[in-house]
């Protein structure tokens, strides 16, 4: 390839990508504003990068970047000179091609007669600078909806025909992007008049239409070097790699439509505020309503079109009521239309993966997460363990030293241990460890407390191995593998009221949960612990119960058989709350105990209106390895050690409580 000197000279006409020096960008901006065009581009306003009228390079957000997450958007100083070092912001180009308020028709009434006059079209001439691949795709989607026939929106068509598009290749991605999954990016491929890729010293320029080529010919460009081309390609590839494939889209249409009765819709409805932000931030949503303005005499009127949303209350209303009055129905309508039925109507996805609905949802609902939950491409993955466990192989154990022992009841001991591996003091509440003494079979024991640099195990001496463990003294050593399994999902309980129901030694795996709750008590609502044991002497952690009460945990105890000093309730643990006045429909429940007790409890909780998706149980099965290799703990489609031991009732469905499964 011939290298042409980068100095300015007579305008060359290179084949292939051209390069525009950073210092010459203003020339492009000026060209875009010829012919009475108004230039719209990104600019920093308040705390966001929005699209607005610009004239000079100084108007662009030099050195600014953005950080996006569900329900969160922040700009920050990148510490460099990049002009396009961010992705899409709250405004979309829809603001100009499909404005939020457009007068349509003027009408008047005079006696019997009426007359109607369309408001004349007067589309402004515009140039858009900074259109991303997902946005190009969105313009294409709206083109199909509004102009591909059989009926055409004249205002949209006129505006659209008067726009010159300068696309900008994304050189970074936000955590909310998923254009890759929707097949719309990150590469800018078509639909643009010009496309720019920003490098350190300037821009790769590519023309995509005759209008674009006409502009390129008037720019002080030179051919791009191989290094520059390679750099641009590598940047785009890095963006693609960073985004990955968050929503497997193959077959999404069918999978989603098969889930119109998924319980997840109801769960979303608890979080979704029906505010409509997602639909108005979305660059492809096109639903509108009309609004009428009349004078006091009522003789003249102007009918205008405003953005509306399928989330708004009157949207599906007719004289008899609304077709879509329930919360969950509206969210379902939006998601299924956008990702499924849009295909049937328009032959493509309605979503271009720009992520605005994720960022600008004030409560942070993430459509990617919802799609993967409602219509997953593969069975639910095993719960991710919180830390890499120590000794994650059937052949290994790490040693741990007993540093203290405490007899909780006649047959139950708590051992305090200092392990030789840090992972065992950093697990989550509800995880367990495989415990090994030389010559004995390995046992799964729930971790009953985490300590700095250590942990506690509460063990009931029910067989030879456990009785041996109970007889250990300070300085004795044992072998451990863990922490294993998943943990109680405390994050689902933030801001909610909690119910913890347990019996006997079932309190042991719940104690770290209670520790975690008390450590950040104000993140949770009312917390009620219902605990039953056979006799008063069998109640664990008696000394801690008072401390928990003063940590603002309500504690209710019951026993099957009372002694002379017992003044509390007698009977099964469900008696403590089956007549309670609280309504469980907003609550989360954590249940652990003998299987029969858990079944009765779950049934009572359901009667108190707790939904299955928020009742969690922990299951116990025979385990030899604790890491899903020995096959013993298989139940249905799960391995208890690897997919559990904590499950929601919604996950278990009707395999919970079925004999012999």
């Amino acid at each position: 390839m011939v290298m042409v000197s980068p100095a300015r000279g007579p305008r060359a006409r290179p084949e292939g990508p051209a390069f525009l020096a950073r210092a010459d960008l203003q020339v492009l901006l000026d060209l875009l504003r010829e012919d009475g065009r108004t230039l719209i581009g990104p600019t920093l306003d308040g705390g966001a990068i929005v699209y607005d009228e610009i004239t000079v390079v100084e108007d662009l957000p030099r050195g600014w970047g953005d950080e996006q997450a569900p329900g969160r958007y922040r700009v920050h100083d990148r510490g460099d000179e990049r002009l396009f070092g961010y992705v899409v912001g709250p405004t979309s180009w829809k603001k100009w091609t499909f404005p939020s308020l457009v007068p349509l028709t003027r009408s008047s009434r005079d006696g019997h007669r009426v007359s109607f006059e369309p408001v004349p079209l007067d589309p402004p001439r515009l140039a858009f600078l900074g259109v991303r691949a997902c946005e190009l795709a969105a313009l294409g989607v709206q083109d199909r909806v509004l102009t591909a026939g059989p009926f055409v929106d004249p205002d949209y068509a006129a505006r659209r025909a008067n726009v010159l598009i300068v696309a900008v290749q994304c050189t970074t991605a936000a955590a909310t992007c998923f254009c890759t999954s929707m097949g719309t990016g990150p590469e800018v491929e078509s639909g643009h008049d010009l496309a720019l890729t920003e490098l350190d010293d300037g821009f790769l320029v590519d023309a995509g239409s005759p209008a674009g080529r006409a502009i390129v010919e008037r720019l002080p460009i030179r051919p791009a070097t191989a290094v520059e081309q390679y750099g641009a390609a590598a940047t785009v590839a890095a963006v693609r790699a960073a985004i990955g494939d968050p929503v497997p889209a193959a077959g999404l249409h069918d999978r989603l439509l098969a889930q119109l009765d998924s319980p997840r819709w109801l769960e979303i409805a608890e979080r979704c505020i029906l505010c409509g932000n997602c639909t108005l931030a979305c660059p492809t949503c096109f639903c509108t309503s009309t609004t009428q303005a009349t004078d006091l005499a009522g003789t003249t009127a102007v009918m205008s079109r405003i953005w509306d949303s399928c989330f708004s209350p009157g949207f599906a209303k007719v004289a008899g009521g609304s077709f879509r009055s329930r919360h969950r129905d509206r969210y379902r309508q939006w998601l299924t239309h956008k990702f499924a039925t849009w295909w049937d109507q328009f032959g493509e996805s309605g979503c271009t993966g720009c992520g605005r609905c994720i960022t600008w949802c004030p409560v942070g609902i993430d459509v990617r997460e919802e799609l993967n939950a409602i219509a997953p491409a593969r069975p639910p993955a095993a719960e991710i363990t919180l830390v890499e466990p120590a000794a994650p192989s059937p052949t290994e154990f790490v040693t741990a030293r007993v540093t203290a022992t405490k007899a909780e009841t006649a047959d139950t001991m708590t051992l305090s241990l200092e392990p030789d591996h840090p992972a065992l003091s950093r697990g989550g509440p509800g995880q367990f460890a495989m415990v090994e003494l030389p010559g004995f079979p390995p046992l799964p024991i729930s971790i009953s407390r985490y300590l700095p640099g250590g942990l506690e195990l509460t063990i009931r001496g029910a067989g030879a191995a456990t009785r041996t463990l109970c007889k250990l003294q300070v300085k004795d050593e044992i072998g451990l593998r863990g922490p294993l399994g998943n943990s109680w999902p405390l994050d689902r309980a933030i801001g909610r009221d909690l119910v913890i129901v347990t019996g006997g030694i079932g309190l042991a795996p719940l104690r770290p949960l209670i520790d975690a709750i008390i450590a950040e008590r104000r993140r949770y609502g009312d917390v009620r612990l219902y605990y039953g044991a056979r006799t008063p002497a069998d109640l664990l952690y008696r000394g801690e119960l008072e401390r928990w009460k003063s940590g603002n945990v309500e504690v209710a105890l019951t026993v099957d058989r009372a002694g002379p000093e017992w003044l509390g309730p007698v009977g099964v643990v469900t008696n403590l709350f089956d007549q309670a006045t609280w309504d469980g429909s907003g609550m989360v429940a954590f249940v652990c105990g003998p299987e029969r007790m858990m079944q009765a409890t779950v049934s009572t909780l359901a009667g108190r209106r707790l939904p299955a998706s928020r009742i969690y149980v922990t299951l116990e099965r025979h385990m030899e390895c604790g890491i899903g290799l020995c096959g013993h703990c298989q139940m249905g489609k799960y391995f208890i050690c690897r997919d559990g031991p904590v499950f929601s009732l919604a996950q278990l469905g009707d395999i919970f409580g079925r004999e012999g499964l």
């Binding site: 705390g47 709250p90 939020s100 979080r271 505020i273 009522g298 409560v363």
Partner: protein, 285 residues
């Protein structure tokens, strides 16, 4: 609610219960339209503006203010009897107003703390919206009402169509106007998602969160928003409760939120919700 033109030149009254007069003033603040309005409507009773009085009957009666005194109970019933079309205007009339915060509390303690001889003060234990006492034909929400909505209502009355008062979230108006969401971009708690639009999204436009003065919208998921503010915003329950304890606190579901989260002193006194020190200040933002 009846539609169709109310009358050729409707006889209009404007009356006041417990309120600040701001909503009535909004009528007088329609400077461009006022003289045209009085041509289309016969203002027969509007004490703030005219000494001409009339006891009705009214074709349209605008009612500002909440029911707050024993004398109000009979008065509103009598006014309803004399009105064809009764419109409540403002947060006091539609939701009980900011003074409804006393509904959670010990009313006698309220009176005693301000007046040394409280037995001479005749006020009810509660401040309640007009609709709790008589049927209401239309309402204009807001604290104060929005002038454009007022004109829309008058135009609708004049022409015989249903007033276009959209029951959707303030968020819709923010997005239509291109206002950047203060909650997403600055972490400022905003009730706009659960509040009925009508104001033109003033507070987010002016860089602060909506405080719900137009009252809860249809299907307001206040519980969902409250959970989110506590979890993601790491805010104590009581602070979220106070957010709902504003000018429309008494309207559901804000009312339940105030009670459950301890949004007023009295609601807190009955629960075990602690007052977290605010640190006082705006450094968080």
């Amino acid at each position: 609610m009846t539609h169709g033109r109310v009358a050729a030149r409707p006889r209009v009254g404007v009356v006041k219960f417990a309120s600040c007069d701001g909503c009535q003033l909004t009528i007088l603040d329609l400077e461009d339209e006022l003289l045209s309005i009085v041509e289309h409507f016969d203002i027969i009773d509007f004490p703030e503006a005219t000494s001409a009085r009339s006891a009705g009957p009214y074709d349209v009666l605008f009612v500002e203010g909440s029911v707050s005194e024993p004398a109000h109970l009979d008065r509103i019933v009598e006014l309803r009897r004399r009105s064809r079309y009764l419109v409540t205007i403002g947060a006091c009339a539609t939701a009980g107003g900011i003074q409804a915060l006393r509904n959670w509390g010990d009313h006698d303690a309220f009176r005693a703390s301000v007046y040394a001889q409280p037995e001479f003060i005749h006020s009810l234990a509660t401040s309640t919206p007009i609709a709790e006492h008589v049927p209401v034909d239309a309402e204009l929400r807001g604290c104060p009402i929005d002038p454009a909505q007022l004109v829309e209502l008058l135009t609708a009355l004049s022409t015989g169509r249903r007033p276009q008062l959209r029951d959707e979230a303030v968020c819709m108006e923010c997005k239509r106007r291109g206002v950047v969401c203060v909650m997403v971009s600055r972490g400022i708690p905003c009730l706009g998602q659960v509040t009925q639009t009508g104001c033109g999204a003033i507070c987010p436009r002016f860089g602060r969160g909506c405080y719900g003065c137009f009252g809860p919208r249809e299907r307001a998921n206040a519980a969902g928003l409250s959970r989110h503010l506590q979890a993601a915003g790491d805010r104590p329950r009581e602070e979220v409760g106070r957010l709902f304890a504003g000018f429309t606190a008494y309207a559901e579901p804000f009312r339940t939120m105030v009670t459950e989260l301890g949004g007023t002193r009295q609601a807190r006194a009955t629960g075990a919700v602690e007052v977290a020190p605010t640190g006082g200040g705006n450094a968080r933002q």
